[in-house]
Amino acid sequence: MLRDITIGQYYSADSVIHRLDPRTKLIGTFCFIVILFLIKGVYGLLIAGLLLLLIVKATKIPLWYIVRGQKSIYILLMFTVVLNMLMVKGDVLVKIGFITITREGIYTAVFMAMRLILLVIGCSLMTLTTTPLQLTDGLERLLRPLKKIKVPVHDISMMMSIALRFIPILMEETDKIMKAQSARGADFESGSILQRAKALIPVLVPLVISAFRRADELATAMEARCYRGDEGRTRMKELKYQKRDHIAKLVILVGCAGLYMTRFLPSITQTFYAITGLFS
């Protein structure tokens, strides 16, 4: 159940994407996000989705694993769809009481949902194929110029990697505590919403205590190994771009340019009108 949530988790496999420099992947993800917001039509998103599918294939991560991990955004997705459907004004298709559904509403809802799904899958591909350690390293290197204007780049990336590392630990802990309380007859699955919320107290209290305890232990462990921030810290593995990174960057560039061009494709509504126009 809880183990199904895979936000920010690493999936170990032996693929080209896994071997890419984390910086390449960070840049790629960033470009992908930007381009998602520049794409105007459903066609563009469909092409972006197709490209993403190719990348998923290349990572050797089973698609079902990725999709299963996105369960937590389903609610957000529903909200987006429903709100867009009801709020966008335009040609009215259905009208029941104060609820009106418009042609534009449906179009926007579909568009937004697609964009959200692509966004989340794109970002999770990044964390699925990059270990937290690599991710931090990459981020730190990319943001290095900001150090000049006194941005604590190292600390920010360290916090991020610790946060990422803590997700599976806390999940495991939650699983363990839930099991232990179930062994004492706690019931998390039945009852009203209020009862279920109350049933979570025996899980939340030990979980919070344990999170603090673990944070404390981690701090001690880091200090015991003489961690004192960025100053004078060297790396065992310096990041270095390989040939495949240059190729990947080229692919990113071409891909993004191509996706940007989809702005000039006729929109799906135009196609629809054009086709229906043929018959009238």
Partner: protein, 295 residues
């Protein structure tokens, strides 16, 4: 009222690269009133095995029965809703009858007071107030907690005391089987003997069956009547401590050992001392030596 496992296997994360066969074709019976020790190297599947006894994880393959009744299979032709209800009810009754104390159980305390925390289990069983209060007092005495600790916060107690509270919380459900996962991990020798001694006495007095997972060969030799040795998800030995510890060589290969006194006994025997039986404890060794030198 035995617990039977029939050809049980369990796989974590099936279908993923991290998939792990934690148990492989395990068949076992835990009888009533028995004191069983489970030993095995880290990662051999002990915790997985005992979580199964209590219905917290469902075998990937095979069947598990309590009192001849399967944990998970129901008569054909039940409707989905009915099935769900029946399953929940059965698990509830299993968890009442098979009490499980996790490793580091003190990490699961959450209530404001010791008494309330112990009452959590019986309250979930839906018992009346007076009954719960009586059980809290009774179980605190069983694990050796002074009554004046009742109104204290569990977080103010020492590690050993917290653990006793957690054990009392499971005992309060009055299980027929008490399953303990390394109840003495991280305790000092006195705390360890305190807890295990009390559990042994409890077992003798109330005839509750105890299943004890432990890394200490001394402890299992001293307190249990039967030892099950798990190796990489399979049962390698199952028998009386004396029988199991005769296989010193194999146990060592499994990353385990034998009690120090047993080891000493074997060595003395090699040197030609006429010791007969496998020796398990200091007392037995003393007795045997006395016999040899007839004093």
């Amino acid at each position: 009222m035995p617990i039977e496992l029939k050809h049980v296997s369990y796989t974590y994360d099936p279908g993923l690269p991290t998939a792990k066969d934690a148990l492989k074709d395990v068949s076992l019976t835990f009888r009533e009133k028995e004191f069983v020790g489970i030993i095995g190297h880290t990662g051999s599947g002990k915790s997985t095995l005992i979580q199964m006894l209590n219905g917290l994880i469902q075998p990937t393959e095979g069947e598990i029965l309590l009192n001849g009744e399967s944990y998970y299979s129901f008569p054909e032709g039940m409707k989905k809703r009915q099935l769900k209800k029946a399953q929940a009810a059965r698990l509830k009754s299993i968890r009442q009858q098979v009490g499980l104390v996790f490793q580091y159980p003190e990490h699961q305390l959450f209530e404001m007071t010791v008494a309330k925390d112990i009452a959590f289990g019986p309250a979930n069983l839906g018992l009346p107030e007076e009954e719960i209060a009586a059980r809290v007092d009774e179980c605190m005495a069983m694990v050796g907690l002074k009554p004046e600790l009742k109104e204290k916060s569990p977080f103010e107690l020492s590690g050993g005391q917290k653990r006793r509270v957690a054990i009392a919380g499971v005992l309060a459900m009055k299980p027929a089987f008490l399953v303990l996962d390394e109840p003495t991990a991280g305790l000092d020798p006195r705390g360890r003997d305190g807890i295990l001694g009390r559990i042994r006495r409890l077992q003798e007095e109330t005839q509750i069956a105890v299943i004890l997972v432990s890394h200490s060969m001394e402890d299992v030799a001293r307190y249990t009547d039967r030892i099950i040795a798990v190796d990489d998800g399979r049962i390698r030995f199952d028998g009386k401590p004396r029988e199991v510890f005769e296989h010193a060589q194999e146990l060592r290969q499994m990353g385990l050992g034998i009690p120090q006194m047993t080891e000493l006994g074997f060595r003395l025997k090699e040197k030609g001392l006429p010791l007969h039986d496998t020796i398990l404890s200091v007392e037995e060794m003393l007795q045997a030596l006395k016999e040899v030198y007839s004093c």
